[in-house]
Symmetry: C2
Subunit: 210 residues, 2 copies
Amino acid sequence: MQIAVVLFDRLTALDAVGPYEVLSRVPDAETVFVAEHTGPYRTDTGSLALTADRTFADVPRPDVVVVPGGPGQTPQMDNPVLLDWLRAADAHTTWTTSVCTGSLLLARAGLLDGRRATSHWLALKALDDLGAEPTGERVVFDGKYVTAAGVSSGIDMGLALAGEIAGDESARRVQLLIEYDPQPPYDAGSPQKAPAGLVAELRAHTRHPQ
Amino acid sequence: MQIAVVLFDRLTALDAVGPYEVLSRVPDAETVFVAEHTGPYRTDTGSLALTADRTFADVPRPDVVVVPGGPGQTPQMDNPVLLDWLRAADAHTTWTTSVCTGSLLLARAGLLDGRRATSHWLALKALDDLGAEPTGERVVFDGKYVTAAGVSSGIDMGLALAGEIAGDESARRVQLLIEYDPQPPYDAGSPQKAPAGLVAELRAHTRHPQ
């Protein structure tokens, strides 16, 4: 099973690394980081680079596609190389997935028309505008399309998908290996739970969902 | 505030990327990835590389040090370049931290003698053997030393530390930006919660804690 994780400039690192850390531990999985060109891609903060080992052309038929988001998603909305590859790869995937604003790229490629899907909470309206049907859930399955909410949700998505791919026992094994027993010291991880003033501030001032 | 995240070959990506994703969003933080040499470092699966932009010599006095773990931690236990830098940097840090088996490196450098600390659940005995006092907690503060349990726990550690550095409101802001409202589809993220047979299997067959 080949799992292709997409990279582009100014992606949010955890969007890609969360699902990678889970899915790469599924038995018989081969994980490849793919992009328009091989080499390092800077993340949104500028202080980290993740390396793409393969070009899109090198990976024509992955079984699973994972599309991250981040501020760099915006220019990719007009990148035919990425969008054409998403469409072509999707014709053969078992699972086509995204984290955060990666779902806007899937939607832009025409893959989420009329489908239930999600995205970073600041991008749900944009997802709606692109023809998907946003939900408030953290991980949304609609057929073979699996979309996750913002940034950290890719870990939950990865585990849910690992369960579908390899069974519950295998998914639990990965969860235990990565010691995923979350204990956030605050309870502000969604717009429903965070202080209203903070939610309003971010809605007003955040140009690019993370 | 300069935050130095350490890289080495065969680290576990999420150990480094979890805290990075949180701490790099703290106001006025400068995050740098440091290693013995600059350039890409392959993670434990072999399918991803993270780039170090600075050498240890380039970053003599970081305010915060984050040491990840992974199978590649073992050979680093005898790397004087890393250990000497940890000791020298620690002399000036505000916070010296680790995720997963990164705490074994802090302990090897002599920084956790008699201190309460934690590590990946499969590495708690090794941490004890190195002179620290392991606890069963997910994130352990002992003075300026902050250690986290396995892999995914670095996100919780990062948020707790963000609260100490920049205050609760700032930490909640980061939590909301990365939409950290975890909803694991399974409840097997610690040896206390996972099926006993799975815990026993991993204890018997996992040579290197992740």
